[in-house]
Every structure is written in C-alpha cells, then in structure tokens.
Symmetry: D2
Subunit: 215 residues, 4 copies
C-alpha cells in the first residue's frame, strides 16, 4: 500500500487532499498542527524520525495573520520563517521520497501577486517556491514530480478569517464563488491516480481565473 | 451525451486527448488538418457552421517549421498568424461553449521561454495565450474553465522533426525522457471527469521540470 | 553624428524620446503616422529604403481602439497585426542597426497583465515582445542592446481617449498621477548617453508601481 | 546636499554606485561589511540609530557561498535569512526615506531563474523582492521610487569566486563579456540625476540578454 503524508491535513485544503488520497487506497497520515507544527524545528525532526519515508508528500500549512509591514516584529518574521520555509526545507532534507513519488506544495496566489496585508506569507512562500523549483530538477531523475499549487480564494476557515463580508467578496470574483477544497483534493488525486509524472517544476494557479498576470 | 471537439486530433497530443475523452464517454469529434485547417479562415467558418456548439473544446495545432528570424517571409508570418492565432480567435468568436464547459489550449513552453528557432511559434502562441487569459475571466461567470497547457518536449512526430538526435537529447532533460502524449490526455480527462472547475485562467507547464523560470 | 530613428515620434512618448535624443546631439528622424504607417508594409519597405541604417531605433506606435473580443473583426485583426507586429518585424529584418547601437521597444504594461478592453494590443504587443526577446540574444554579439519599455498610464492623448474621468482615475494610481512622457524620454536618453550596454533582453515596466505581478 | 546610503558599498557593484552618486554631489555613506553587517540585527539597529534618514538608499549585500540543498544547515539558513532578508526589512522599517527619494535593491537574476548552486540566495532574494514590490505601492504616495535591479554576471570578485574559468564562461554569454559594475553605477546615477520617478515597483534584469524568461 502506498503512503501519503499530508502536513496540515486536519482541515481545509489539506483535509480534502487527505480524503481524496484515502479514496484511492493510500495509507494516509494527515497531521494537525498539534501533531506537527512546522514552526517548531525540533518537532519537525522528531516527526520525520517517526515517518522516515513516503510516496506522496503534501506540504501545506496555515498562513500568518494579516499584518502591515511596519507592525511585523522580529518574533513574527522568525516564527513564520520557520513555519512557511525552514520547516518545509527540513522535511525535504530528511524525509525519503520513494522513487516515482510526488511532492505537492500548497502555496498561495500571493507568490505571483504579493498582497500587502499578507506580506509575511508573500515573502516566505515565494522563498520556498524558489527552493521547490530547484528541487524539481534534481528529483526528476528519480521520477519524482514536484507540483506547486497556488490557491486563490478557497472556501476555508482561513478565507473567512481574512475577508469581512464573504457574500460581497464573491461578487468580485470571476466565478462569483470561492473554490472548494475538494476541487483541489480531486485534482491532486487525479494526478496521482493517473500516474501523471511529466507535470513537474510547475506552479499551478488554482484561483477561478482571479489572477491578472498572463502566465 | 456531452460533446468534445478536438482540433488537431488525428495524431500526437490531440489524438491522445481525443482518446482519453472517448474513454469517459464523450462524443468526440477529432479533426485532422484535412478536415479543419486553422490557417484557412473560410474553412474554419464552414466547420463551425457544422459544429456550432460543444461542451469541451481543445485548441491544438501543429507548429511552423524551424526558421531563423531573417528567413521568415511575409507569407510565413501571415500563414501562421492564421494557423496559430486568428483561426483560434475565429473559433472562439463563433462556437458556443455550453455552460459548465471547458476550453483547453495546447500551447508550448516557448510562450514563457521563447526559442530562436521557433520564433514564429513563440510569437503567435504568446499572442493567443494573452487572448485566452482575457477570455478566461469573461467566460468564468458561465462556469466555463479556460486552461492553457504549455507542453515541453513530448514524444510526438513534431519533436522528432525538430531534434536531430533524440537519444542524446533525452540525456539533457531532467527526467531523461520525453513526456508521453497520453500523460496530457489523462490530465485533461481527469480535470473534465472530476468536474474541476476552479482551475481557470492558468498556464500549466507540462515539461518534466525543464523550464527555468520560477513561475 | 550618431543617428536615431523614432517611429511614432510626432507626439506623446515618441516625441519626448525624440526631443531627449536631440538634446544630446543625435541626428533624429522622428516619423509621424503620415510619414510612416507601420500597418502599411509597402510604406514600411519604402521608408527603410530611404533610411537603411541607424544607431538608435525606437519602435513605437499608437494602439488600437478599445474593443470587446466579440466585436473585433478580421479587418481589425489584420490591420493591427501589421501595425503592432509585422511592420516592426519588417523594419528589424531590413534596417541595419550599427554595432554598439540600441533598439528600444515602447510596448505596454498589457503585455504582462492583459486588459480585456485592449485585447488586440495585449495580443500583438505580447507577440512582438517575444520576437524582441529572441533578437536581444542574437544582436548581443554586435554589442547592440534591446530594451523593452512597458509603460503604464502616461499623460498622453491616448490615455485621455481611453479613460473617462482622468482626475478620478489618478486617485486610483499608487502615485496619484500619470507618468510624464519626458520621464521616459529622459530614461532612454540616460541609457544611450551613458553607453549602458549590459541592459538588454529586459522588459522594464514604467508604470508608477501600478502593476501587481511581482516580476 | 542630498544624502545617499549604500549598503555593501566598499567594493563591486555597491562601490560603483557609491562613486557614481558621489560624482553628482550626493553626500554618500558607503558601508563595508565591517561597518554594517546585515546578518547582525543588533548591528543594523545601531547603525540606523546613527543614520536615521536618507534620500537614496541602496540595499546591496554579498551572497552566500555556493552550497547544495542537502548540505545547507540550520545555521546557514538563519545567517542568510538575516543577511539577505531580515536585515533589509529592519532597515526599511526603521530608516526614514525622505519624500521624493529612491530605494534601489541590488538583487540577482536568480530571483526569476533560480540556480541550484545558489539555492540560499535564490530563496531569500525572492522573499525580499516580494516585500520590496509591496512597499513600492505604499511608498508611492510619498513620491518614493522602489527599483529592483537584478544583475546577471558582473565583473566582480563574487563572480570570480563562483566561476571556475572566467574566459570560457564569457564565451557562453550573449555579449561575450561580463557586465561592468560601473554600468550599474551609471544606470542608478542617471535615474536619480534625471529625477525619473515613475519607474517604481519594477524588476530590471541587468544581465546582457542572458535570461531566458520572456519578461
């Protein structure tokens, strides 16, 4: 039975991916923040000690609170540097991805179009997307695919926290609705189930046509 | 029974997509260049007269011969302007995409990283990708998804024409192999089959980690 | 005395560049649309016959009227294909850029963030930007720099045509004002005057921080 | 007399910018790493205490050693997180940029096309470019321009460290040479001297046509 490890898998997009992989008979470990907090490197190291390899890895984590640049303090930077960047680097340095496997990153559309209220997230998710791109090339020879999914507004608790009036907000979106976590779950499942491997080193906006940059 | 129209569907990537959609019980019309030559606008208009609507549309066409900028003549520019750009615009102006449908463009990785030998293709595929992005937004309210797949080196007759020594070439690729048309076919099938709709307005490199631009 | 040829040099940005190059003692030919209409290839060929070489070339032209995709007809596509793309290709195929020279393209910020009202411009300016990038590499060995300047909202007749209420529009811009043509004129002048050559193959947004894509 | 502060201004690109700004009568403070080490936040805070405001700020710093992803340790990540990201954030949070001023970032072409040997630099320079883009918008209302210059191969000690055989390397470059620091110095000088302000929120590749991504 193939294994999947879904970080941040207890709710939202992570949970939807975990469920979708379960449905195709993957042995799924889906962690909540209590089980694996990527901002705590000691915790990361212990966790990987207990889960030393996987076939599918989903790198997913909640984002920082909305903060203006001038109110971000050193503690914030360091915490989210760990949570959004260094924790993920540590996982990829230590875990074994089995040949023919997959690594999915759930990043955000702020990597291409940074958002002033989400400045911490914009910065560190960009940084990790850069690492992820580089690794896609070196892991390619083991037939391991690295796929960066950059969600826009998805129907999660996170979006409800960030947006004041969800109904008004929906009207501003091209599709007049939020995306559903299970659309991303099914998308990940489809790629894995169909063994689509040549899709690697790619950033896939998943945002209902909301972004403005042509590529 | 839902309908699919696959332009350039008699071989290579187009054929693989046609086969994949057939396998999920779509009523597929797959055209060869004899049946529909997108460089011939009169032909395009006649064809759409006979196929006025569809649920899934695949915009796909072969590319121009490799030519140096200084050897491209006016006839070449005009022919491929029709084939790679204006024929597709005409189709999208005239055909009805049914609500909840899909339009897939099979473009090329040269849209992001232009190639001097494929200058005609780089130019007109970029132009059409720009139109495609704009339309993704206006069609979103009808729940129609526009997905631009930008293939890298795929195992097709086209690639064999362009590359001298395929075996040597493979060694230079991150995955040490070409992509298979059916990987793209299955990818398209998965999206349609799972009704993944929030994926729209996106360019998806499909190139085995070959591209260098981070996004 | 070094020569400069400024296409579309009788008003707006083109005129400002012509004036700026005049101020550093270039022998400037600045054409109006009556003298050189890039949508008329015969006219282009004749003109280049009379101006077979230059040190600095400025490729600049007005844009098409705002039109919705479904109201663009074949005549429009063909006219602006010539004006924004094929005329410029023809010039670059036929004119001699002297060694150590410069080619500047004045494109538009719609090449990165396409605009539904400016769909024709978005498409063909993208196409030509792709050609321009390719040529930057082949001309580099002659120490000729290709620089693509992509203006945002500049204080020109064109902007006044496209925007209903200029004063209201300014309030939406990060700098609360339009850019001035002479800022672009001075920018071009500075590069030429200081013989800055390693700046080539680059797209330079000139938009007062208006664009949203990070790069 | 207007003030300029050039971080990393004792050699290479920083020194060339300091010299160029001196030549137009700026009161230039150019720091060496001994005077201001951006990896040391205490040092940064003290320094800004003594230099609380400026008209022109140049954010520039050397890069980390070339290291493979799997050999980067936690200490490396944290050091260069400070040096390439957090030190610069701290400066921008604490220093006053006078109205009408400029902030230039000297980043690297690895922000767009990440380099496996320069993975630390690729990551953190991307992160800071994201912050820089966001700030370009908020500072625009004070008529302060944020310009991100992304150099390619420049004739500096750094390049000599990274490249084994410089003469062979030059042959692979489109211009068959490295860029000169003073080309960047003169470029910065020109923008400041000509009060070109509408150029903001932009990334400017400075790489002699070496990059492959079209934008």
């Amino acid at each position: 039975m193939s294994k999947a490890l879904v970080i941040g898998g207890s709710r939202g997009i992570g949970k939807a991916i975990a469920n979708a992989l379960n449905s195709i008979n993957y042995d799924v470990v889906a962690t909540s923040k209590n089980q694996l907090d990527t901002s705590n490197l000691k915790n990361v190291n212990e966790f990987i000690g207990n889960h030393p390899d996987t076939d599918v890895l989903i790198l997913n984590t909640g984002g920082p609170p909305a903060k203006n640049f001038f109110s971000v303090n050193e503690e914030d930077w360091l915490k989210y540097h760990n949570q959004l960047f260094l924790g993920f680097c540590t996982i990829l340095q230590k875990i074994k991805i089995n040949d023919g496997g997959y690594v999915f990153l759930i990043s955000s559309n702020v990597i291409k179009e940074p958002n002033s209220k989400l400045i911490i997230s914009s910065a560190y998710r960009s940084a990790f997307s850069s690492v992820f791109k580089i690794l896609s090339k070196s892991f390619a020879k083991k037939n391991i695919s690295f796929i960066n999914i950059a969600p826009g507004p998805i129907n999660t608790d996170r979006t409800k926290e960030l947006v004041n009036d969800i109904e008004e907000y929906k009207k501003t979106l091209p599709m007049k609705r939020l995306g559903e976590p299970k659309e991303i779950g099914n998308f990940v499942k489809s790629i894995v189930e169909n063994k689509i491997k040549y899709l690697s080193g790619v950033v896939i906006n998943f945002d209902g046509a909301a972004s403005n940059f042509v590529y």
